[in-house]
């Protein structure tokens, strides 16, 4: 493996090309279950980010000490440790949000994207790139959570940033934005089908954007001049 670590590439993978929620379709259970509002989505996104960052660093540190045969149980133990830490932190500082998110905080242990990153990246790379990868993957996942939460909150309740005081204290109580004057609420957006629909439309949007980017890149690529001869290359290309 080459020594130069491409941090830009890692960020791009985590946020877009290999986004855990939109491309790998991992961690769909929390994505679909708790994104009823921006506050809930942000809470779970931050918790997942914290666990992902911690577990990636720890797994990277012990990667040479753990044999291949027992690596998965070891990774799960590490992830469970960080999940418990996060759970205790949330119970201490954001108790109400902890109660709303309920079982989905402990369930971060089973989030496939975390174990996936531990096995696919952190167990093969040094600490710093692993930490960066965990951060970017967590951000990518969290941003999708936020987007789905925002869509569902706007359509379902006609508000944005409601109940943010659960996360940021009393000062955030006034952040709620009422988008429509008299809105009775489109209930299906808050119900589980709304999560599936919103996620589906987001994936479709990403695919459209990717197709556009590809088309533009192909158009930008220089076309060979007419009549120009190809350069023949032989031997190894370094």
């Amino acid at each position: 493996m080459s020594n130069a670590v491409n941090y830009g590439e890692i960020s791009k993978n985590g946020l877009w090309n290999n986004n855990p929620a939109l491309v790998q379709l991992l961690g769909l259970c929390p994505l679909l279950a708790v994104t009823g509002s921006v506050a809930n989505a942000l809470g779970l996104g931050l918790a997942t980010l914290l666990v992902l960052l911690g577990s990636n660093i720890a797994v990277s540190l012990i990667r040479k000490a753990v044999s291949d045969a027992v690596r998965l149980p070891a990774f799960v133990m590490i992830i469970a440790t960080f999940t418990t830490c996060t759970e205790l932190l949330m119970r201490a500082f954001t108790f109400e949000l902890y109660q709303i998110l309920g079982i989905f905080i402990p369930l971060i242990v089973t989030n496939c994207s975390i174990l996936g990153r531990a096995d696919a990246f952190a167990s093969k790379n040094p600490v710093l790139p692993s930490a960066w990868d965990g951060l970017m993957m967590g951000l990518g996942f969290g941003l999708v959570l936020l987007a789905v939460g925002a869509i569902r909150e706007i359509l379902g309740a006609g508000t944005l940033f409601a109940d943010m005081h659960l996360l940021f204290g009393e000062a955030a109580r006034g952040w709620t934005i009422h988008l429509f004057g008299d809105y009775s609420g489109f209930l299906i957006a808050v119900l589980p089908p709304g999560a599936f629909l919103a996620t589906g439309f987001l994936i479709a949007l990403k695919n459209i954007a990717d197709a556009q980017i590809k088309k533009r890149e192909e158009a930008r690529r220089e076309k060979p001049l007419k009549g120009s001869k190809r350069v023949r290359t032989t031997g190894a290309i370094s």
């Binding site: 009775s184 609420g185 489109f186 209930l187 299906i188 957006a189 119900l191 629909l197």
Partner: protein
């Protein structure tokens, strides 16, 4: 040399989708007349609005998918979806309910799954259920029938109906509980008592004023479609027989826990509309005749179960959607025997 076009001598049904869909639209007329007579012009307005919305959505999606727009508009399938939705939505419901349900039916339930012939769920029922669970307040108000209006009131005229639909002026007193609502909400009273005191039953004959005639209207339309061989008898008959059987088994002569007589279940709510216009959809139902029998009968049983022990007063849409899920499964186990073979073979059977 141009070849002669020879069709099979046994083919009776019309040739293309457009003709079939036109027949279906024609067959809704008796039911629509009954609806308009008893509940005023609301249903007709729903049908018109929903049809136009459906065609507009269909055209927009076809444009987006870069398909020939007129070719798909001309098969009338979008209009039929709109007409069926308009008939199921409550009269005088606000315009945005019609728009949301029709848009959802065409764009999400039909075209996101691949369009005409590929949708696993009945688009009209998906649209109906989406608004039913999203806007329960608006969707559970049905106009009071002409013969059971309170003293001194009359049906909404076209002008006040338009006001109600577009401006949501909220004219009080023109809504009433439907017969199935009455049964759902009064489970401590004897059936006989309900029939004597509730205006919607006191003014009716068997299953609530207006409703029995609306259902008879759809029955006539369905009989016409059967006569024209638009669909086979299997699914509707199986559904109606299963519903009757369930209602007979659980009818105990009218105690407070009774689910209502078989006649009430046959002639109330969306029974006949569902039996002849919804579950006969060739795309979303089972394929073989045996499959259609199972499909229809399961819907009949589910309708009774949800009506009697579920949360919603009527259940046709939920029952149809649940069985739409099961249609491929039913098809898998009801492959007909091919001529020349002893046993039916499944598509996955690899033996020679």
């Amino acid at each position: 040399m141009p070849l002669l076009r020879i069709t099979s001598p046994h083919t009776h049904s019309p040739g293309n989708t457009g003709d079939v869909m036109q027949q279906v639209m024609l067959a809704t007329i008796p039911g629509l007349i009954a609806l308009s007579y008893f509940f005023g012009p609301g249903s007709l307005m729903n049908v018109v609005m929903a049809s136009f919305t459906a065609v507009a959505c269909e055209a927009a999606v076809m444009k987006l998918r870069r398909r020939p727009v007129m070719f798909y508009i001309n098969d009338y399938s979008a209009v039929v979806t709109g007409v069926l939705l308009g008939l199921s939505l409550p009269p005088y419901c606000p315009w945005w309910i019609v728009a949301v349900s029709t848009g959802f039916a065409i764009v999400v339930a039909k075209h996101l799954y691949g369009g005409m012939g590929f949708n696993p769920f009945n688009p009209a029922m998906v649209g109906y259920v989406v608004v039913l669970i999203s806007f329960p307040v608006e969707m559970t108000q049905w106009a009071a029938p002409r013969t059971a209006l309170p003293d001194g009131q009359s049906l909404l005229g076209p002008l006040s109906a338009l006001q109600q639909i577009w401006l949501d002026t909220g004219i009080d007193g023109h809504t009433a509980a439907t017969p199935l609502d009455v049964f759902k909400q009064n489970d401590s009273q004897l059936v006989q008592h309900l029939y004597a005191t509730e205006p919607v039953f006191a003014a009716g004959r068997w299953a609530g004023a207006g409703w029995e005639w609306v259902n008879l209207g759809f029955l006539i339309g369905g009989a016409y479609l059967l006569y024209r061989r638009i669909f086979t008898w299997h699914a509707p008959v199986a559904m109606l027989v299963a519903l009757t059987l369930m209602a007979t088994i659980f009818y105990d002569g009218g105690s407070s826990t009774s689910g209502g007589s078989p006649l009430l279940h046959l002639l109330s709510g969306g029974t006949m509309l569902g039996a002849f216009f919804i579950i006969t959809d060739p795309v979303t139902s089972a394929t073989s005749n045996r499959g259609k029998l199972i499909f229809g009968a399961s819907i009949g049983v589910l309708i009774y179960i949800i009506r009697s022990w579920g949360n919603y007063p009527d259940a046709v849409a939920f029952a149809v959607l649940l069985m739409n899920f099961a249609a491929p499964f039913i098809d898998y186990y009801t492959v007909p025997r091919t001529y020349g073979h002893d046993k039916p073979r499944r598509a996955t059977d690899n033996r020679p």
